[in-house]
Amino acid sequence: MNIAVYIIVMAGVTYLIRAVPFVFFRRKIKSRFVRSFLYYIPYAVLSAMTIPAIFYSTGSKLTAAVGTLAALLLSYFGLPLIAVALAAAAAAFIAGFLI
Protein backbone atom coordinates (compact mmCIF):
# COMPACT_ATOMS: atom_id res chain seq x y z
CA MET A 1 0.00 0.00 0.00
CA ASN A 2 1.12 3.56 -0.63
CA ILE A 3 2.76 5.06 2.43
CA ALA A 4 0.80 8.28 1.89
CA VAL A 5 -2.45 6.40 2.60
CA TYR A 6 -1.08 5.15 5.92
CA ILE A 7 0.09 8.60 6.92
CA ILE A 8 -3.21 10.27 6.00
CA VAL A 9 -5.19 7.68 7.98
CA MET A 10 -2.83 7.93 10.94
CA ALA A 11 -2.88 11.70 11.03
CA GLY A 12 -6.63 11.89 10.31
CA VAL A 13 -7.62 9.57 13.16
CA THR A 14 -5.28 11.30 15.59
CA TYR A 15 -6.62 14.73 14.61
CA LEU A 16 -10.27 13.72 14.95
CA ILE A 17 -9.67 12.23 18.41
CA ARG A 18 -8.45 15.66 19.48
CA ALA A 19 -10.79 17.88 17.49
CA VAL A 20 -14.20 16.28 18.06
CA PRO A 21 -14.40 16.91 21.82
CA PHE A 22 -12.45 20.18 21.59
CA VAL A 23 -14.64 21.75 18.90
CA PHE A 24 -18.07 20.36 19.68
CA PHE A 25 -18.09 20.40 23.44
CA ARG A 26 -19.32 23.85 24.46
CA ARG A 27 -21.49 23.44 27.51
CA LYS A 28 -20.31 24.24 30.97
CA ILE A 29 -20.42 20.90 32.75
CA LYS A 30 -22.89 21.07 35.64
CA SER A 31 -22.32 17.77 37.40
CA ARG A 32 -19.99 18.30 40.33
CA PHE A 33 -18.67 14.77 39.97
CA VAL A 34 -17.78 15.23 36.30
CA ARG A 35 -16.20 18.62 36.97
CA SER A 36 -14.12 17.12 39.77
CA PHE A 37 -13.22 14.19 37.55
CA LEU A 38 -11.96 16.50 34.80
CA TYR A 39 -10.09 18.58 37.36
CA TYR A 40 -8.13 15.51 38.51
CA ILE A 41 -7.58 13.97 35.05
CA PRO A 42 -4.41 15.92 34.12
CA TYR A 43 -2.62 14.92 37.31
CA ALA A 44 -3.80 11.31 37.05
CA VAL A 45 -2.78 10.98 33.38
CA LEU A 46 0.67 12.43 33.99
CA SER A 47 1.21 10.31 37.08
CA ALA A 48 0.19 7.11 35.29
CA MET A 49 2.41 7.99 32.32
CA THR A 50 5.39 8.78 34.52
CA ILE A 51 5.26 5.94 37.05
CA PRO A 52 6.83 3.49 36.46
CA ALA A 53 7.93 4.50 32.91
CA ILE A 54 10.42 7.08 34.20
CA PHE A 55 12.58 4.29 35.64
CA TYR A 56 13.00 2.83 32.16
CA SER A 57 13.68 6.14 30.41
CA THR A 58 17.48 6.18 30.50
CA GLY A 59 18.39 2.57 29.82
CA SER A 60 19.57 2.09 33.41
CA LYS A 61 17.22 1.96 36.40
CA LEU A 62 19.92 3.33 38.67
CA THR A 63 20.65 6.48 36.66
CA ALA A 64 16.90 6.90 36.09
CA ALA A 65 16.32 6.69 39.85
CA VAL A 66 18.95 9.38 40.45
CA GLY A 67 17.31 11.57 37.80
CA THR A 68 13.87 10.95 39.32
CA LEU A 69 15.13 11.88 42.78
CA ALA A 70 16.58 15.13 41.43
CA ALA A 71 13.31 15.94 39.69
CA LEU A 72 11.25 15.17 42.81
CA LEU A 73 13.45 17.33 45.03
CA LEU A 74 13.54 20.34 42.71
CA SER A 75 9.83 20.17 41.87
CA TYR A 76 8.99 19.88 45.58
CA PHE A 77 10.64 23.26 46.04
CA GLY A 78 8.70 24.66 43.10
CA LEU A 79 11.47 25.22 40.57
CA PRO A 80 10.40 26.03 36.98
CA LEU A 81 9.56 23.13 34.61
CA ILE A 82 12.62 23.60 32.44
CA ALA A 83 14.99 23.60 35.43
CA VAL A 84 13.47 20.41 36.83
CA ALA A 85 13.45 18.67 33.43
CA LEU A 86 17.07 19.49 32.61
CA ALA A 87 18.29 18.78 36.15
CA ALA A 88 16.77 15.31 35.91
CA ALA A 89 18.70 14.65 32.68
CA ALA A 90 21.90 16.16 34.10
CA ALA A 91 21.64 14.04 37.27
CA ALA A 92 21.08 10.87 35.20
CA PHE A 93 23.98 11.82 32.94
CA ILE A 94 26.38 12.40 35.84
CA ALA A 95 25.18 9.25 37.61
CA GLY A 96 26.01 7.32 34.44
CA PHE A 97 29.67 8.20 34.89
CA LEU A 98 29.84 7.54 38.62
CA ILE A 99 28.14 4.16 38.57
Binding site: I17, R18, Y43, S47, S75
Partner: protein, 232 residues
Protein backbone atom coordinates in the same frame (compact mmCIF):
# COMPACT_ATOMS: atom_id res chain seq x y z
CA UNK B 1 -2.63 38.83 21.67
CA UNK B 2 1.05 39.13 20.81
CA UNK B 3 1.97 38.95 24.49
CA UNK B 4 -0.05 35.76 24.90
CA UNK B 5 1.66 34.21 21.89
CA UNK B 6 5.13 34.84 23.30
CA UNK B 7 4.10 33.72 26.77
CA UNK B 8 2.83 30.46 25.26
CA UNK B 9 6.02 30.07 23.25
CA UNK B 10 8.21 30.64 26.31
CA UNK B 11 6.18 28.14 28.34
CA UNK B 12 6.77 25.75 25.45
CA UNK B 13 10.57 25.84 25.69
CA UNK B 14 10.83 22.82 28.03
CA UNK B 15 8.48 20.99 25.67
CA UNK B 16 10.66 22.00 22.73
CA UNK B 17 13.75 20.55 24.44
CA UNK B 18 11.97 17.40 25.51
CA UNK B 19 10.48 16.86 22.07
CA UNK B 20 13.81 17.48 20.39
CA UNK B 21 15.33 14.58 22.31
CA UNK B 22 12.34 12.22 22.19
CA UNK B 23 11.64 12.71 18.48
CA UNK B 24 15.34 12.22 17.81
CA UNK B 25 14.73 8.64 18.90
CA UNK B 26 11.69 8.42 16.66
CA UNK B 27 13.77 9.60 13.69
CA UNK B 28 16.33 6.86 14.29
CA UNK B 29 13.59 4.26 14.63
CA UNK B 30 11.80 5.38 11.45
CA UNK B 31 14.96 5.18 9.37
CA UNK B 32 15.65 1.72 10.76
CA UNK B 33 12.15 0.77 9.56
CA UNK B 34 13.05 1.82 6.02
CA UNK B 35 11.35 5.22 6.08
CA UNK B 36 13.20 8.20 4.59
CA UNK B 37 14.10 11.23 6.74
CA UNK B 38 11.64 13.37 4.74
CA UNK B 39 8.73 10.95 5.24
CA UNK B 40 9.64 10.57 8.93
CA UNK B 41 9.50 14.36 9.33
CA UNK B 42 6.14 14.49 7.52
CA UNK B 43 4.78 11.84 9.90
CA UNK B 44 5.95 13.90 12.89
CA UNK B 45 4.56 17.16 11.49
CA UNK B 46 1.15 15.65 10.72
CA UNK B 47 0.69 13.51 13.85
CA UNK B 48 2.49 15.30 16.67
CA UNK B 49 2.32 12.32 19.01
CA UNK B 50 4.93 9.87 20.26
CA UNK B 51 3.45 6.46 21.02
CA UNK B 52 0.99 6.66 18.11
CA UNK B 53 3.76 7.36 15.62
CA UNK B 54 5.93 4.52 16.84
CA UNK B 55 3.00 2.10 16.56
CA UNK B 56 2.10 3.56 13.15
CA UNK B 57 5.60 3.00 11.82
CA UNK B 58 5.44 -0.60 13.04
CA UNK B 59 2.24 -1.12 11.05
CA UNK B 60 3.71 0.52 7.94
CA UNK B 61 6.78 -1.67 8.16
CA UNK B 62 4.65 -4.81 8.61
CA UNK B 63 2.34 -3.78 5.74
CA UNK B 64 -0.67 -3.88 8.08
CA UNK B 65 -4.25 -3.08 7.16
CA UNK B 66 -5.90 0.33 7.36
CA UNK B 67 -8.39 -1.01 9.91
CA UNK B 68 -5.50 -2.00 12.11
CA UNK B 69 -3.99 1.45 11.75
CA UNK B 70 -7.27 3.11 12.73
CA UNK B 71 -7.79 0.87 15.77
CA UNK B 72 -4.24 1.22 17.05
CA UNK B 73 -4.34 5.02 16.75
CA UNK B 74 -7.73 5.11 18.48
CA UNK B 75 -6.57 3.02 21.43
CA UNK B 76 -3.24 4.75 21.91
CA UNK B 77 -4.49 8.28 21.36
CA UNK B 78 -7.98 8.22 22.88
CA UNK B 79 -6.52 9.89 25.98
CA UNK B 80 -6.38 13.08 23.91
CA UNK B 81 -10.18 13.11 23.89
CA UNK B 82 -10.18 13.26 27.69
CA UNK B 83 -7.59 16.01 27.60
CA UNK B 84 -9.51 17.96 24.96
CA UNK B 85 -12.65 17.67 27.07
CA UNK B 86 -10.82 18.83 30.17
CA UNK B 87 -9.21 21.75 28.30
CA UNK B 88 -12.55 22.74 26.73
CA UNK B 89 -13.65 23.76 30.23
CA UNK B 90 -10.96 26.41 30.65
CA UNK B 91 -10.93 28.13 27.26
CA UNK B 92 -11.15 31.88 26.90
CA UNK B 93 -14.25 33.19 25.05
CA UNK B 94 -11.89 34.21 22.22
CA UNK B 95 -11.67 30.51 21.39
CA UNK B 96 -14.15 30.50 18.48
CA UNK B 97 -14.86 27.45 16.30
CA UNK B 98 -12.10 28.06 13.72
CA UNK B 99 -9.58 28.52 16.53
CA UNK B 100 -10.76 25.29 18.12
CA UNK B 101 -10.33 23.40 14.84
CA UNK B 102 -6.84 24.80 14.43
CA UNK B 103 -5.62 24.37 18.01
CA UNK B 104 -6.94 20.78 18.19
CA UNK B 105 -3.89 19.80 16.16
CA UNK B 106 -1.66 20.62 19.11
CA UNK B 107 -3.35 18.83 22.02
CA UNK B 108 -0.48 16.65 23.19
CA UNK B 109 0.26 15.28 26.66
CA UNK B 110 2.77 18.01 27.34
CA UNK B 111 0.89 20.96 25.85
CA UNK B 112 -2.22 19.83 27.68
CA UNK B 113 -0.25 19.51 30.90
CA UNK B 114 1.24 22.99 30.71
CA UNK B 115 -2.08 24.56 29.63
CA UNK B 116 -3.99 22.93 32.49
CA UNK B 117 -1.40 24.15 34.96
CA UNK B 118 -2.21 27.79 34.02
CA UNK B 119 -4.35 29.77 36.41
CA UNK B 120 -5.87 31.95 33.68
CA UNK B 121 -8.18 30.86 30.89
CA UNK B 122 -6.40 29.66 27.75
CA UNK B 123 -6.43 32.00 24.74
CA UNK B 124 -5.85 30.90 21.12
CA UNK B 125 -2.66 33.00 20.85
CA UNK B 126 -1.21 31.38 23.98
CA UNK B 127 -1.87 27.91 22.63
CA UNK B 128 -0.56 28.73 19.15
CA UNK B 129 2.72 30.00 20.59
CA UNK B 130 3.15 26.81 22.57
CA UNK B 131 2.10 24.54 19.70
CA UNK B 132 4.41 26.27 17.23
CA UNK B 133 7.55 25.93 19.31
CA UNK B 134 6.66 22.38 20.40
CA UNK B 135 5.96 21.19 16.85
CA UNK B 136 9.19 22.84 15.72
CA UNK B 137 11.10 20.79 18.29
CA UNK B 138 9.22 17.62 17.38
CA UNK B 139 9.85 17.89 13.64
CA UNK B 140 13.43 19.18 13.95
CA UNK B 141 14.32 16.36 16.33
CA UNK B 142 12.80 13.79 13.98
CA UNK B 143 14.71 15.14 10.99
CA UNK B 144 17.99 15.27 12.95
CA UNK B 145 17.53 11.79 14.38
CA UNK B 146 16.63 10.37 10.98
CA UNK B 147 19.53 12.08 9.25
CA UNK B 148 22.26 11.79 11.90
CA UNK B 149 20.96 9.56 14.68
CA UNK B 150 24.15 7.76 15.46
CA UNK B 151 26.28 10.88 15.94
CA UNK B 152 25.20 11.69 19.51
CA UNK B 153 27.16 9.90 22.29
CA UNK B 154 25.10 7.20 24.00
CA UNK B 155 25.55 8.77 27.44
CA UNK B 156 23.88 11.98 26.22
CA UNK B 157 20.99 10.45 24.30
CA UNK B 158 20.08 8.02 27.07
CA UNK B 159 20.16 10.74 29.74
CA UNK B 160 17.87 12.88 27.54
CA UNK B 161 15.26 10.12 27.74
CA UNK B 162 14.21 11.39 31.18
CA UNK B 163 13.57 15.03 30.20
CA UNK B 164 9.84 14.80 29.52
CA UNK B 165 9.18 12.70 32.61
CA UNK B 166 11.08 15.25 34.69
CA UNK B 167 8.76 17.89 33.31
CA UNK B 168 5.71 15.80 34.20
CA UNK B 169 6.91 15.54 37.80
CA UNK B 170 7.45 19.29 37.91
CA UNK B 171 3.80 19.71 36.92
CA UNK B 172 2.23 17.27 39.39
CA UNK B 173 4.41 17.60 42.49
CA UNK B 174 3.73 21.23 43.53
CA UNK B 175 -0.11 20.88 43.50
CA UNK B 176 0.21 17.45 45.16
CA UNK B 177 2.20 19.12 47.90
CA UNK B 178 -0.48 21.77 48.42
CA UNK B 179 -3.62 19.63 48.10
CA UNK B 180 -4.08 16.24 49.77
CA UNK B 181 -6.76 15.36 47.20
CA UNK B 182 -4.33 15.80 44.28
CA UNK B 183 -1.71 13.80 46.17
CA UNK B 184 -4.22 10.97 46.65
CA UNK B 185 -5.17 10.99 42.96
CA UNK B 186 -1.53 11.05 41.85
CA UNK B 187 -0.65 8.17 44.20
CA UNK B 188 -3.67 6.11 43.12
CA UNK B 189 -2.91 6.62 39.41
CA UNK B 190 0.73 5.63 39.94
CA UNK B 191 -0.33 2.57 41.94
CA UNK B 192 -2.73 1.30 39.29
CA UNK B 193 -0.17 2.03 36.57
CA UNK B 194 2.46 -0.03 38.42
CA UNK B 195 -0.07 -2.84 38.76
CA UNK B 196 -0.57 -2.87 34.97
CA UNK B 197 3.14 -2.79 34.31
CA UNK B 198 4.09 -5.75 36.51
CA UNK B 199 0.93 -7.80 37.09
CA UNK B 200 -1.76 -7.19 34.45
CA UNK B 201 0.78 -7.16 31.64
CA UNK B 202 -1.68 -8.25 28.94
CA UNK B 203 -3.14 -4.73 28.87
CA UNK B 204 -1.46 -2.49 26.27
CA UNK B 205 0.39 0.61 27.58
CA UNK B 206 -2.15 2.96 25.97
CA UNK B 207 -5.08 1.31 27.70
CA UNK B 208 -3.16 1.00 30.97
CA UNK B 209 -2.73 4.80 31.12
CA UNK B 210 -6.40 5.41 30.30
CA UNK B 211 -7.69 2.96 32.91
CA UNK B 212 -5.28 4.16 35.61
CA UNK B 213 -6.16 7.80 35.02
CA UNK B 214 -9.92 7.24 34.85
CA UNK B 215 -9.94 5.07 37.99
CA UNK B 216 -7.82 7.50 40.02
CA UNK B 217 -9.77 10.59 38.88
CA UNK B 218 -13.12 8.92 39.57
CA UNK B 219 -11.89 8.00 43.03
CA UNK B 220 -10.72 11.58 43.58
CA UNK B 221 -14.02 13.00 42.33
CA UNK B 222 -16.00 10.68 44.62
CA UNK B 223 -13.90 11.28 47.75
CA UNK B 224 -12.86 14.90 47.25
CA UNK B 225 -15.34 16.78 45.04
CA UNK B 226 -13.81 20.13 44.11
CA UNK B 227 -15.35 23.41 45.21
CA UNK B 228 -16.25 26.03 42.63
CA UNK B 229 -13.33 28.35 43.30
CA UNK B 230 -10.75 25.56 43.23
CA UNK B 231 -11.32 24.76 39.55
CA UNK B 232 -11.16 27.98 37.59
Amino acid sequence: MKKDFFRGASHGIPIFLGYLSVSFGFGILAVESGISPLIASIISASNLTSAGQVAGVDIIRAGGTIIEMILVQLVINIRYSLMALSLSQKLDPRFTTPHRFLASYGITDEIFAVCSAQKERITPAYMYGMILISALGWVTGTALGAAAGQLLPDAVSSALGIVLYGMFLAIIIPPARRQKSVLAVVAAAAGVSVLFRYVLTAVSPGFAVIISAVAASALGAALFPVKEEAEQ
